[in-house]
């Protein structure tokens, strides 16, 4: 008698096994996509160090109350105007052309009652304890956007690339060796042209 070929293994259960594994992985894993706003907190200061005096025109005060409303330099403001106002404040360059603080790259209106140059300009944000975190992040986002806008403008003018794009590529490790050091140096230069001076004062307890 001719030998019967071995019966085929039924492959129907392979699909079941595969489905089981798939459902296991769907349930126990997540897609990591964390991104956020990076910030450096000021270290704790000793009590006997007197904070340096800042001229009122170099200070941009943003107050947020518990109803998530903004008050900028004593005038109420909508969130969508915050970015443009911050840009105008930072870019003002009010110092006159014969003083050592003159800012040659500022393109602002050079009003004498607004900031002298971006190195002296300080933005101070003060929140109420009951302000929503949502609004807090929105305000931080708009202020960082103002700095990034100015930094991108300068890096485009000086080097032809965007500051934010270069920083992102640096983080992804796209540059190596000498090119990396050079780009790092340029990034630091741009950072010093518009330093991120964002201060968060202690929220007043009512």
């Amino acid at each position: 008698m001719a030998r019967r070929s071995a019966p085929e293994v039924n492959a129907g259960s392979m699909a079941d096994i595969a489905f089981l594994l798939l459902i296991f992985f769907l349930v126990t894993t997540t897609m990591e996509k964390d991104k956020g706003i990076a910030r450096q907190l000021p270290p704790i200061q000793e009590n006997d160090i007197i904070p340096p005096k800042i001229k009122e025109k170099n200070l941009f005060i943003v107050l947020v109350n518990k109803n998530n409303q903004l008050l900028v330099n004593d005038a109420p403001m909508e969130l969508r105007n915050l970015r443009q106002e911050a840009i105008e404040f930072l870019d003002n360059g009010g110092a006159s052309s014969n003083s050592p603080e003159y800012c040659s790259y500022c393109k602002g209106n050079r009003k004498p009652n607004s900031s002298d140059n971006p190195n002296k300009a300080v933005i101070s944000v003060q929140n109420d304890r009951l302000t929503t975190y949502n609004t807090y992040i929105a305000v931080q986002n708009e202020l960082v956007a103002a700095y990034n806008f100015l930094r991108n403008r300068e890096s485009q003018r000086l080097y032809g690339w965007d500051y934010t794009e270069a920083k992102k590529d640096m983080g992804l490790g796209r540059y190596k060796g000498k090119a990396k050091d050079q780009i790092n140096k340029k990034l630091k230069e741009i950072q010093e042209m518009y330093p991120l001076k964002l201060s968060e004062a202690q929220a007043k307890k009512k």
Partner: protein, 157 residues
């Protein structure tokens, strides 16, 4: 005569399901490669606020602090107030130091000094709680922080 045998029947041949496991295996491999095993159970609600001026988080040097209202299954036991979670359990503001030092110990020893604290806070929390966390972080000298957000811009709502 064998060349003219009658045709078998008029039914359609059954659809072959031999390739079904292949499709499922492809999906499986995709998930195995693109995802990460979840490390902690989330005990608090997490609707992150939107922001677009963001940087990528460096996972190998970050410790996470979650904050928000307890999620629905824990609400009856732990109430409705904003809570902080580090690791797998709730902590109070005063215990943050111990919990963070413990979490930092799990990182690579070379990276421990450049640790970044990732704050994943629900968008409905009060800023007061976040300010308390930040004050404690300043005392512990962990000054590099990153507020985790979801892509988008709040002005476009």
């Amino acid at each position: 005569m064998s060349k003219f045998t009658k045709k078998k029947g008029n039914e359609l041949p059954p659809v072959s399901t031999a390739s079904l496991p292949d499709i499922v295996f492809m999906l499986l491999f995709f998930f195995m490669v693109a995802t990460v095993m979840r490390e902690t159970n989330l005990l608090v609600e997490q609707n992150l606020p939107k922001a677009d001026q963001v940087e990528k988080l460096k996972k190998d040097r970050s410790v996470f602090i979650f904050a928000g209202k307890p999620s629905d299954q824990y609400k009856d036991k732990y109430g409705d107030e904003g809570r902080i979670q580090i690791g797998d359990k709730y902590t109070e503001v005063s215990n943050i130091g111990i919990a963070l030092t413990e979490a930092r110990g799990k990182l690579n020893p070379e990276l421990q000094s450049s640790v970044v604290v990732a704050l994943k806070v629900d968008d409905d929390t009060n800023t007061g709680l976040v300010t308390d966390i930040k004050e404690k972080l300043r005392e512990l000298n962990m000054v590099k922080i990153i507020y985790i957000t979801t892509p988008g811009n709040q002005l476009e709502n």
